[in-house]
Structures are given as structure tokens and as C-alpha cells.
């Protein structure tokens, strides 16, 4: 009890697991029989007791009308008891988890800055020789930011989901997956070693797959889930190799031990720059898979097939930021490998601008947001790549707020329009769903980088660092600023197309437009507040703030920077150090310039989608090739299909034909054929003639005796 509330740190990931178990039982024993009965399917033999109950004594047999009625009226009146229970438990456990996490972080914050690393080892998990991987959780400034964001945003999205999924029949199944995701994500961010992090890493991948393919009866959803899973495996392979290299180099996988050994090992020459580059590059391969960066970003837009709260939670706010978290967590290693830092920064910047341009032409409201997410993740990697890990994590946090809000808002729009996702069939929704409009508008201002809102501070921190830090360059700044302008443009395009102008809805849909229930609007409102004030903890010094966020994370990132200062030039070029080289005037000037670029984007969007609404089509007509290329996402999916998928499929077919069918089957069948042929010959000896048998008996005896005699004679 010496650590107070921190001794209960394990509750943070454990509480969602409780939700998984309870909701899982409800899903199995309350929901599944109900759904099977509705579908007219017999219950499987496993639950025999309830099976006889369901088929012979069920009210549907006694009263034929109740069967058809029960199926249709599911969500409207007479909500089954178990659904209320699920709706209470699922957000409840996450809320409790958030409270515990908050108390733990407060208790951690009360400690002096150097002592803010708390490791709780629960039990040894894998022990083999010198290898030890415990199940342990680590709370330090970095993981506390992640835990609070994950549980906090996660809780709001759980509450939102209760409203959003209220018409969904597989209600309990949905929340089982969602709770399982929270458990895995919290394991990922709070693990005290790479192996346990990998467990969480794979767990969130699994839940992502399950939730993208939640409506698995839809072919596209099932395919999208599969795509996400397969693409993520490519990245995971890199992460695994990186982990092996780490164990090979350091002999341990615990963060504290690994990073404690970094200075000594790099001084003694064991940890060469080449080795560090290999480890970090492989890690970054894992990060590109999970965080949807070039070249592995293709799964994220397709992941929008899942329910919208899932897109908000997994594919915007939390899971996709796992790669950024991993890079930031391993900052000590990344700073040793300037080549990797360069790669990270280049990939981040390229992804930021590349996917932003795709976002311009998408008409599906969720796909615009998906490309926007890919683009914003690119910013975070750009920040990490130029050594500004704090800025990356800061943007991760603010992005979690406003992007979750944008997704939830788009979900609210889709909910209001009975499932319509095409922005070409929206318009003028401002007056029908005012809360959704207002909150989404705030998030749009935030992501566009309007001064005063959270996105401005984090994005500008990244822009400034990419210009001024030791790893940065004006090119990075220019690319990122251009991407910021495009972001502002496509986000306002989204808002204008959705909420302003003439209504382009189907009349049938228009009749049913309604504002969402409070379970959905309340999370929207809270997130809107966070989107505004979330950045205020990181106001840079040049604007009169004190950047609490950077001070909070300093114990995690600064020792790493100090440790490498001997070899890598200007590795520690964080805010304060950078300020020495560059004047405040320059910083303010660049800030104003980037805001100006964002305003240009907004102005252009206003001009094209409010003033001259015919202009976009005209542009598309005038540059048909360009328009089609962007509209079809630069044909990247088609290119991958041709360059990778086809090759692998053809290669697999070749392997199947050459090795499986020809070699392996050939050996097996060849042995069988040989035995058969031999048997065919040998069986003719068994002629059925007793005399023949007697003769062979005799011949055998003669041979044996002859042999024995021969042996005795030569001796």
C-alpha cells in the first residue's frame, strides 16, 4: 500500500476485461439464442437445455403473430433486459477504468519529475533461460497521456455507441468487441515491455478486424476486415523482427532496462548506428502498418466499412496512433539512428500531403475523414522524425479529440439520414441537426488549425519543429504547411457539402431526419469542449504559454536526448534549445504564415462550394485525367493489386503446383504407388496351391540349414 492508488494500476486494463467477460456471457446466452430464433435457425446442440426450450415451448410457436412482430420491433419498445444491462456495463467499466487511470496519473503527478516512472509487475509470464517477460504495467508521463486519452475518449465513444447502435441486433456482440479492444489497447500503452506491448498490438489488430467486419454479411465489410488484418500482419512482421533484435542486443525486452542500457552499449560499441538503424527501421515498418502510413496505409480507408463509432475509436483516436506511441516510446533508440529519423520524417510528410490530396475528391463522408486521419498521422510521424516526440504525442492527443468528434459527428449525420454516407446526397443539414453541426464545426476549425483551438497548437508545434529542429528542414515545413492548407480545404468542403446549401437528400430520407439522442450528443459536446481547450496545456512559450505538456513529457524524452548527445548532433533540439537558434519573430511569422495558408484553404473551399458551386465540376471536366486519378486514390489499390497481390497469388499458385501438388503429393503418392506395384507382383506367390506353400517352406528350411552348415564349415 506504499504506492496508494498506484497499486491498483492493474485495474485500468482489467476492468474492460471484466466487461468483455460479462458482456460475452450475455451475448452468448441471452443474445445469440434470440438472434438465431429470429433467423429461424435451430440452436446448436451445445446448449441443449435452452434448445428444447427455444423450439418447443417458445411463444413464437404458441402465438404465430409474435414471431414476425418480435423481429421488427426489436429496438423500439420492450427493449430486452440484457440490452439494458450491456448498455450499462460496457460504458461503465470503461468509465471506471478512466477514473482509476485519472487517480493514478494524479498520484504520479504528485511525485517529483524524475520519479515519475511507476512499474507494477503482476506475475512472470514467459521465463526461458535468461529471457524474462513479465506481465507488468508501467505508468510514466507518456503512458499516462495515452491511458487517459484511450480511456477518456473510449468512454465517450462507448456512451455514444449505446445510442448509435440502438437499432443494431447484435448489440452485445458489438460491446464485447469494443471492450476487448479497450483491454488490448490499454495493454498496449501500459505494458512495461515490448513483448506485452506486442500482445496488445495484436489484440487491437484482432478487434479492428472483428469490428471492421462487424456486419460480416456484407461482402465489402468482410473484405475490408480481411484487408486490414493482412496489411497489418506485414507491419507486425517488422515489429517482431525489431523485438528479436532488441532482445539479441540488450538481452531484455523491458523498457526501463533497455533504455538504461542504451548509453553504455552505444559507448562500448555493441549498439552501433547500423544496429540501431536496423532495429528502428523494423519498428517503423510495424508502425506504418498499424498507423496507416505509406506504403501500408491502404487498409484504413476501407476500414470505414465498420460501424462509425468504431471508426472514431479505433481508426482515428486510439489504435492507429499505436505506431506513433511505439516510436515515441522507443525515442532513445530512434535518436541513435539518424537515417531512420530521416525515413520517418520523409514518410510522415509524404503521407500527410499524399492522403490529404486524396481527401479532396472523396464523396463518402467517412472516407474523407479516413484520409484525413492518415494525413494527420503523417504529421505525428513527421514530428517524431524530426525529433519532436513531444509535439507528435501532443498532436496525437488533440487529434484524438477532434477526429473522434468528427467521426462521431459524421456518425450522427449518418444516423440522422438513416445510413446515407454520400455527401452528394446531403446538404442543408445545419438546421435539422444543430448540435451535430455545431460540434462538428468546432472540430473542423480545430483540425484546420484556427488559432486558439487545440489543433492549432499541436499542428503548429509540429510545423515549427519540422522547420527548426536539428533533424528538420524548410522542405518539411513547406510540405506540412501545404498539407495543412489542403486539410483546411477538404474539411470545409465536407462541412459545406454536408451542412450548408440546398438539401440534396432523398425525400424519403428527409422526412426522417432527426437529431440524435442525448447519449450521442453528450459525447459530441464533451469532445467539442476538449477540441477547444485540449491544446491549452501546450501553449508554446512564444505565445506567452509555458507548454505544460512538454514539461510533463520531458522525463521520458529528455534523458534519451541527453544520452545520445555525444554522438548525434543536435539530437536534443527541442523547443527551448531550438529557440536559441531561431528568433521568436521567425516562429511567430511562420505561425502566421501557416494560419494564412489554412485560411486560404478555407477561403477556397468557401469559394468553390458556397459561391461558385458549379466550379468543382467544371474543374473536374477540364482536367479529367487528374480528377480521375485523385478520385480513384491514384490507383494505388489497383497498383498494389497488380504489383503485390497478383504476384503473391500467382507465386502461391506456382508454389502450390510445384511443391505441394508435384513434390509433396508426388512423394506421398509415389510411395503408395510403389507399395501397390510391389504388392501386385508379390501377391502372385500366394497361389492357393498347398503344395507350393509346402515347397517354399522346404526351400526355406533347406536354405537356412545350408547357411548354418556353411557358416560352421568355414569357421
Amino acid at each position: 500500500m506504499v504506492n496508494g492508488i498506484l497499486d491498483y494500476l492493474w485495474l485500468v486494463p482489467a476492468l474492460p476485461l471484466v466487461g468483455v467477460v460479462v458482456n460475452g456471457l450475455l451475448a452468448l446466452f441471452a443474445e445469440r439464442p434470440l438472434l438465431l430464433k429470429e433467423a429461424g435457425l435451430p440452436l446448436p446442440g451445445g446448449s441443449h437445455g435452452s434448445s428444447t426450450h427455444g423450439t418447443s415451448v417458445s411463444p413464437s410457436h404458441a402465438d404465430p403473430t409474435s414471431h414476425g412482430h418480435g423481429g421488427g420491433s426489436h429496438g423500439h419498445h420492450g427493449t430486452p433486459m440484457y440490452r439494458k444491462l450491456v448498455a450499462l456495463i460496457a460504458p461503465g467499466v470503461i468509465g471506471a477504468s478512466f477514473v482509476v487511470a485519472l487517480l493514478c496519473v494524479l498520484s504520479l503527478a504528485a511525485r517529483p519529475a524524475e520519479g515519475r516512472t511507476f512499474v507494477q509487475i503482476l506475475f512472470p509470464w514467459i521465463q526461458a533461460g535468461s529471457f524474462l517477460a513479465p506481465v507488468g504495467f508501467q505508468l510514466d508521463p507518456l503512458s499516462s497521456v495515452m491511458a487517459l486519452v484511450v480511456t477518456g475518449v473510449g468512454f465517450l465513444i462507448h456512451v455514444y455507441s449505446v445510442g448509435y447502435m440502438s437499432h443494431e441486433r447484435a448489440f452485445a456482440r458489438y460491446f464485447v468487441y469494443l471492450n476487448l479492444f479497450m483491454f488490448a489497447m490499454l495493454t498496449l500503452v501500459m505494458a512495461n515491455n515490448y513483448l506485452l506491448m506486442f500482445v496488445g498490438w495484436e489484440g487491437v489488430g484482432l478487434c479492428s478486424y472483428l469490428l471492421i467486419g462487424f456486419w460480416y454479411e456484407k461482402q465489402s465489410a468482410a473484405d475490408a476486415g480481411k484487408k486490414a488484418f493482412v496489411v497489418n500482419r506485414i507491419g507486425d512482421f517488422g515489429f517482431l523482427l525489431a523485438m528479436f533484435l532488441i532482445f539479441w542486443t540488450f538481452g531484455t525486452v523491458s523498457y526501463t532496462e533497455v533504455f538504461a542500457k542504451v548509453p553504455a552499449l552505444s559507448n562500448s560499441g555493441v549498439l552501433t548506428t547500423g544496429l540501431a538503424t536496423a532495429i528502428t527501421l523494423l519498428m517503423f515498418v510495424g508502425a506504418t502498418g498499424k498507423s496507416a502510413q505509406i506504403p501500408l496505409y491502404v487498409w484504413l480507408p476501407d476500414a470505414m466499412e465498420g460501424p462509425t463509432p468504431v471508426s472514431a475509436l479505433i481508426h482515428a483516436a486510439t489504435m492507429v496512433t499505436a505506431g506513433v506511441y511505439m516510436v515515441a516510446r522507443s525515442s532513445g533508440l530512434f535518436l541513435l539512428a539518424p537515417d531512420t529519423m530521416m525515413v520517418v520524417a520523409v514518410v510522415g510528410a509524404a503521407t500527410a500531403i499524399f492522403s490529404a490530396t486524396i481527401g479532396i475528391c472523396q464523396t463518402d463522408i467517412k472516407r474523407v475523414l479516413a484520409y484525413s486521419t492518415v494525413s494527420q498521422l503523417g504529421y505525428m510521424f513527421l514530428a517524431c522524425g524530426v525529433g519532436a516526440f513531444t509535439a507528435g504525442i501532443f498532436h496525437l492527443m488533440t487529434h484524438a479529440f477532434f477526429k473522434a468528434l468528427l467521426f462521431l459527428g459524421s456518425g450522427s449525420v449518418i444516423h440522422a439520414l438513416s445510413g446515407e454516407q454520400d455527401m452528394q446526397r446531403m446538404g442543408g443539414l445545419r438546421k435539422y441537426i444543430p448540435i451535430t453541426f455545431f460540434t462538428m464545426f468546432i472540430a473542423t476549425l480545430a483540425i484546420a488549425g484556427i488559432p486558439g483551438l487545440s489543433g492549432f497548437f499541436s499542428k503548429d508545434e509540429i510545423l515549427w519543429q519540422s522547420f527548426s529542429s536539428g533533424h528538420g528542414s524548410p522542405v518539411f515545413w513547406a510540405v506540412a504547411a501545404a498539407a495543412a492548407g489542403i486539410t483546411a480545404f477538404y474539411m470545409f468542403r465536407l462541412v459545406f457539402l454536408t451542412f450548408f446549401g440546398e438539401s440534396r437528400m432523398d425525400p424519403e430520407v428527409a422526412r426522417h431526419v432527426h437529431e440524435s439522442p442525448w447519449t450521442m450528443t453528450l459525447p459530441l459536446s464533451i469532445l467539442a469542449v476538449l477540441s477547444v481547450i485540449g491544446g491549452w496545456i501546450g501553449i508554446p512559450a512564444v505565445l506567452g504559454g509555458s507548454n505544460h505538456f512538454e514539461h510533463w513529457l520531458a522525463p521520458v524524452f529528455h534523458p534519451a536526448a541527453a544520452a545520445t548527445a555525444h554522438g548525434v548532433a543536435a539530437a536534443g533540439a527541442h523547443g527551448a534549445a531550438a529557440g536559441a537558434h531561431h528568433s521568436a519573430v521567425l516562429e511567430i511569422g511562420l505561425m502566421a504564415l501557416s494560419v494564412g495558408i489554412a485560411l486560404c484553404g478555407i477561403g477556397l473551399a468557401y469559394f468553390l462550394y458556397r459561391v461558385r458551386t458549379g466550379k468543382p465540376e467544371e474543374i473536374a471536366r477540364n482536367w479529367p485525367t487528374l480528377y480521375r486519378a485523385v478520385y480513384n486514390k491514384y490507383y494505388i489499390d489497383e497498383f498494389y493489386e497488380w504489383a503485390v497481390v497478383r504476384r503473391i497469388v500467382n507465386g502461391s499458385v506456382w508454389l502450390w503446383e510445384m511443391f505441394d501438388a508435384l513434390l509433396v503429393d508426388g512423394i506421398v503418392n509415389g510411395v503408395a504407388d510403389l507399395v501397390r506395384a510391389a504388392g501386385d507382383r508379390v501377391r502372385r506367390l500366394q497361389g492357393g496351391v498347398v503344395g507350393g506353400y509346402a515347397f517354399s517352406l522346404l526351400a526355406g528350411a533347406v536354405l537356412l540349414v545350408g547357411y548354418i552348415l556353411y557358416r560352421s564349415m568355414i569357421q
Binding site: Q686, G687, V690, L698
Partner: protein, 100 residues
């Protein structure tokens, strides 16, 4: 005193006649009798060896073989009768259904 090799020669001749009978004849009855002849050829060798070595074991084994031969003859003849009732033949070359 007759040389032990003479007894062994007799034994070998008896055994050889038996072998030829088993292999060459078609009549099952004759084959059974030939088997008896082989066994008795062996018996001669046992008794001769026992007498030559002054050891009763050879004689005891001869009785043992006789007992087994008697049992074998009884079973063999019973089988033969059952076979004859079924197939109406005791020609071994016609009894060849037990094959692949």
C-alpha cells in the same frame, strides 16, 4: 552295435520320403500320412541320439512328438472329413480358393 550314423541315415531317409510325399502328392490323406512319416523320421533321430548319449531326454521327446502327432492326426483327419463333405474331393490342387 550299429553305428549311430546308420540310425541318422534311416531318420533322414524317412524324413526325405515324408517331404517328397508332402510336396508331390495330391491326395490330402497321403499328405497327412507323409507328415506322420516326417515326424517319425525325427523320432528315430531323437531316440538314436538319446541312446548314444545315454540320456533319456531323447526318448522322452520322442514320446512327446508322438503325442503331438496323434493329436495332429485327429484334428487333420477331422478337418479332412469336413472338407470332403463340403467339396466332395480330397485333391489338394482343387482346394485353392484361399488366395488373393
Amino acid at each position: 552295435m550299429i553305428q549311430p550314423s546308420a540310425y541318422l541315415l534311416l531318420s533322414a531317409i524317412l524324413f526325405g520320403i515324408g517331404v517328397v510325399g508332402v510336396v508331390a502328392r495330391k491326395n490330402v490323406l497321403i499328405i497327412l500320412m507323409s507328415v506322420e512319416l516326417m515326424l517319425n523320421g525325427v523320432n528315430v533321430a531323437f531316440v538314436a541320439a538319446g541312446s548314444y548319449l545315454g540320456d533319456a531326454t531323447g526318448g522322452i521327446f520322442a514320446f512327446m512328438v508322438m503325442t503331438v502327432a496323434a493329436a495332429e492326426a485327429a484334428v487333420g483327419l477331422a478337418l479332412l472329413i469336413a472338407l470332403y463333405r463340403l467339396k466332395e474331393t480330397i485333391d489338394i490342387t482343387e482346394l485353392r480358393i484361399l488366395k488373393w
